[in-house]
Subunit: 193 residues, 2 copies
DNA sequence: GCTATTTCTTATCATGTGTCAATGGTGCCT
DNA sequence: AGGCACCATTGACACATGATAAGAAATAGC
C-alpha cells in the first residue's frame, strides 16, 4: 500500500526505514469508488491525499452551472485544496474520484507533526510545490496567450496516455472551453490529416 | 538595505542575528533603473531576486509579438523564472523593472548553501511557494471561468492601490485581454455609475 | 513651453467561441 | 434484448473579444 509513496519520497530526500515507519503511522488509507467525493464544495478540506492508485479531479462550479477543472490528480501525485487545508476555511472546490482510487490521507495536525519530527519533509514538499508552481504558471500563460486549438494540441503532446482515460467533456473543461468547441477542434485536426 | 528582507523572513520563521548575518553574505544588492531588465528571454535565470523597492514584471512575447504578463513583483516579493533558475535551461521569460528598483540577488549555489546551513529556510520557502501556488491557481481558475469584465473587477477589488501605478495596457496583458477591450470595459463600468 | 513619444480611447469590422437544440453513439443494467 | 443514462457530434445563430486604423490625451525630453 505504501510502496509508491515510499518510492516518490525517496526520489527527492533520504529517509531511514525507521523514519518512514513513523511517517506511515500518520496516514490513513482510504478507498474511493468511481464518482465518490474526497471533498465537497463548502466543506473544509481536512485531508491532503497521496494517490496510490486511480485518478481524481479538482473542480469548481460557476454561477451558470459550468464545471471548471483545476487539475487532475494522477497516481503518485498529491491532491487537496491547499488553501482550505491550511486555513480551515470552507473550500470552493470539489474533489472527485474518476475511477476506483486508493488514497493515503493525512490531516493537518499529522502534517505539522511530520515536519516537526522529520524536517527533511520540508524539503520534500518545497520541491513538490516548486514543481506544481512551475506547471501551474505554464498553464496560466497558455491560457492567457494560446487559442483553444493550441492548448488542446499541447495537452495531447504532453499527456498522450493520460488523456485516453478521460472523457472529452472533462478535457474541455480542463482547457476552459466547451465540449462543442473541443469537438470542432478535433474534427478540424482530423480533416487536416 | 536588508530591513524588509529581515522583516519578511521573521514573519514566517525565527532566525538568530548570527544566522541572518550569514544570510546577508549570500545576497548581492543590485539597482535597476526603469525599463532595465533583470532577465532576458533566452538567457539562463542566474538569480532569484528579493524586491526591496520598486516593481517588476515577468512577461513573455508570443509569435504575434503580443506581450503576456505572468506576474508583477511588488516590494517584499520574490521574483525569478523558477524553472530556468533550478535547471539552468534558457528562460522563456523577461523580467523588467517598471520603476527604479532595489533588489537583493542570490545565485543558485548560494541558495543551496542557504538551505544547507540554515534548514529553517526550507520551511520559509515552502510557505512562500504554498502561497504562490494558491494565488496562481486562483488566477488560473479565474482565467478559465470568468469574463474579461469579471476578471478586471476582481483585480481592482484585490489590488486597488497597486493598480494605480500600472499603465492600462499592462493590466490588460496581465488579464489576458487587449488594451482596447479593457478600455471598453472601463467605459461600461463608468457609464453604469 | 513645445515637440515627440507613448498611452488611451473610439469606431468599424472580422472571427473564434459560446449557446441552444437536435441527432446519433456507446455502453450499462436488470 | 430492450431501455436508459451518458457522451460526442453537428448546425444555426449570438455575442464577446480581437484586429485594424485613426485620433485624443497624457507624459517625457529638450
Amino acid at each position: 500500500m505504501y510502496e509508491l509513496l515510499h518510492q516518490r519520497i525517496s526520489e527527492i530526500i533520504t529517509v531511514t526505514d525507521e523514519e518512514f515507519e513513523f511517517c506511515k503511522t500518520l496516514f490513513q488509507p482510504k478507498k474511493l469508488r468511481k464518482k465518490q467525493f474526497l471533498l465537497h464544495e463548502g466543506d473544509e478540506c481536512r485531508y491532503t491525499a497521496f494517490v496510490e492508485k486511480g485518478i481524481l479531479r479538482t473542480f469548481s462550479i460557476d454561477e451558470k452551472g459550468n464545471e471548471h477543472i483545476l487539475q487532475f490528480a494522477m497516481e503518485g501525485w498529491w491532491v487537496a485544496d491547499l488553501y482550505s487545508f491550511l486555513t480551515n476555511e470552507p473550500s470552493t472546490y470539489n474533489i472527485e474520484a474518476l475511477e476506483e482510487c486508493e488514497l493515503l490521507l493525512i490531516t493537518k495536525p499529522s502534517w505539522d507533526l511530520l515536519f516537526e519530527k522529520i524536517p527533511a519533509f520540508e524539503k520534500y514538499f518545497r520541491i513538490i510545490l516548486q514543481n506544481s508552481l512551475i506547471a501551474t504558471q505554464r498553464r496560466l500563460m497558455g491560457s492567457l496567450s494560446e487559442s483553444a486549438e493550441e492548448k488542446y494540441e499541447k495537452l495531447v503532446a504532453a499527456y498522450p496516455t493520460h488523456l485516453q482515460k478521460l472523457p472529452q467533456h472533462m478535457i474541455a473543461s480542463y482547457l476552459g472551453i466547451t465540449r462543442e468547441t473541443l469537438s470542432r477542434i478535433r474534427r478540424n485536426i482530423a480533416m487536416r490529416k
